[in-house]
């Protein structure tokens, strides 16, 4: 089985740092979440992320145990997780006011 790396126990994505993943591969986890296994729904290049579980649109994408953005569409376990289905919650002019309030 191919392996991705999961840095923190609460993460819902893993990173392909050991080998690239092809569609249909059975994928397990090194680091944390060795209990989880998914079937890749897309090719995952070196350094890219795979969903370890379903992530609904609007839900938080977690890496390092922290938010790296929100799902912009429903993500299924095994999907490639990147700019096409995740949006940043930071550094966005349209959200600047909300972020300013959040940091007060």
């Amino acid at each position: 089985m191919k392996k991705v790396f999961v840095v923190y126990a609460t993460d819902n994505v893993g990173t392909a740092v050991l080998e690239p993943i092809q569609t249909g591969d059975h994928v397990g986890c090194n680091g944390e979440r060795s209990d989880l296994e998914v079937i890749a729904q897309a090719d995952i290049a070196y350094g890219h992320k795979i969903a370890l579980m379903d992530i609904a649109a609007g839900d938080t994408v977690l890496k390092y145990g922290l938010s790296i953005g929100s799902a912009s569409s429903d993500i299924k376990a095994g999907d490639h997780v990147h700019t096409h289905n995740v949006e940043s919650n930071r550094g966005r002019g349209d959200l600047a006011e909300r972020n300013a309030i959040a940091t007060e």
Binding site: F5, V7, T15, A16, V17, L18, N30, G31, A45, Y46, G47, H48, K49, V61, K63, Y64, L66, S67, I68, G69, V81, H82, T83, V86, E87, S88, N89, R90, G91, A102, T103
Partner: protein, 390 residues
């Protein structure tokens, strides 16, 4: 609590190295500095492009970099050389800043000595005397709480945020648990994860300063025509798999651990507080300027986390390169000190990687040479500019 063996300075600081510093006050004294350092056993030249025709705020920053480097506990003696009497930047000005440390100190003015040859002679005689005097200094036991541990990342890749940086944060926590302090600069990399930092601020003023620092750096970049937020993550970053600015920034700031942030520092400013914990400093992502600002703040040792295999090494602050990329480690074996890529294959846990990094830091504090130190590849002294040359 563990101890290390270091050089006890008159002001209570403890160094992990014992250098004679040949410090150039201005760009035009660099030649004399290098000639003197060539002659003297163990002498380290500090040369640079500054000290002349700078606006006052910029000159003040340069002076903090130069005086701070000389005040670093790793320096046992200092010979300062200037070429003329620069307002605000004479050898005597620098000496006045450095003198409270109580270390051996001398100044030489090239014009005052009647030119290059006489200045080299006078400075060489000072440096010879100092090198012999400090050779009598012996390492003595000191608590790890005396260590100010700097940390940097550069030439980062996918492995950096997943292995070397978090391992480094855990190493910092081991030091902090013994009363030590960890310092992180590069506020350009705090963008996108300001909240993660401000939540750790020990006092509201620290949180406010962190936010103001990020905004200030962003405004400076904007004034030059560069929108940092719009360009981050970069196209390369995205091709490499990084999706958002917060993902990139979190990977970078994870090189400090979860301890409180005790103090926010201006660039090259020494901490005024001594509580164990994390300290953060305003400054650019540019590696040489960033690590030089941390050496000027008094860091005795620095870890440089690098996925791609960086070559940075500061002349007086041992710079330990840590990578999570096994390929980079194999390729740059004479340059990269520590490989923690075993976390990806489950050969080691992240906690064990943190211990491996900490153990290397402690060995280097006790005198173990880093790979770049052994090669004397002292490439990374650089001064951050905050104003134009006039």
């Amino acid at each position: 609590m563990s101890e290390f063996m270091g050089f006890h300075r008159p002001n209570g600081d403890v160094g992990i190295r014992n250098h004679v510093l040949i410090l150039s006050g201005t760009v035009y004294a660099n030649g004399v500095c290098e000639r003197v350092a060539d002659t003297i056993h163990g002498a380290v030249p500090i040369t640079h492009a500054n000290g002349r025709c700078q606006v006052a705020p910029d000159l003040r920053v340069t002076r903090r970099f130069l005086a701070g480097t000389a005040m670093n506990p790793n320096v046992g003696a200092v010979v300062i050389i200037d070429h003329f009497k620069e307002e605000g930047m004479t050898a005597e000005d620098l000496a006045a800043d450095i003198a409270p440390t109580g270390k051996l100190l001398a100044t030489v003015n090239i014009r005052g000595e009647g030119g290059f040859i006489s200045a080299v002679e006078k400075a060489t005689r000072y440096a010879q005397d100092f090198a012999r005097q400090i050779s009598l200094y012996r390492r003595e036991a000191a608590p790890m709480s005396k260590i100010l541990f700097g940390t940097e990342c550069g030439t980062s890749d996918t492995t950096s945020g997943l292995a070397s940086n978090p391992a480094n944060g855990l190493a910092g926590e081991i030091l902090i648990a013994q009363g030590g302090r960890m310092l992180m600069a590069e506020c350009t990399e705090w963008m996108g994860c300001e909240n993660w930092l401000t939540e750790k601020a020990a006092r509201p003023a620290v949180a406010e300063a962190i936010l103001a620092g990020v905004q200030h750096m962003e405004a400076r970049a904007l004034a030059s025509g560069e929108d940092i937020r719009g360009s981050q993550p970069t196209g390369d970053n995205m091709a490499g798999g990084l999706t958002t600015i917060e993902e990139k920034s979190m990977g970078a700031v994870k090189k400090i651990g979860d301890s409180p942030i005790i103090e926010y520092l201006e660039i090259a400013e020494a901490p005024t507080r001594t509580e164990p914990g994390n300290y953060v400093m305003y400054g650019p992502g540019m590696g040489a300027e960033s690590i030089s600002s941390m050496a000027a703040a008094g860091c005795q040792v620095l870890t440089f986390c690098t996925g791609g295999g960086h070559t940075s090494n500061h002349p007086i602050m041992p710079t330990i390169k840590v990578t999570g990329n096994r390929g980079s480690y194999e390729l740059m074996r004479d340059t990269v000190d520590v490989d923690v890529s075993g976390v990806f294959t489950d050969e080691i846990t992240l906690a064990e990687a943190g211990r491996i990094v900490y153990d290397e830091v402690e060995r280097v504090c006790n005198g173990y040479l880093t790979k770049s130190e052994a090669l004397r590849d002292n490439n990374s002294f650089a001064i951050h500019r905050v104003g134009p040359s006039i």
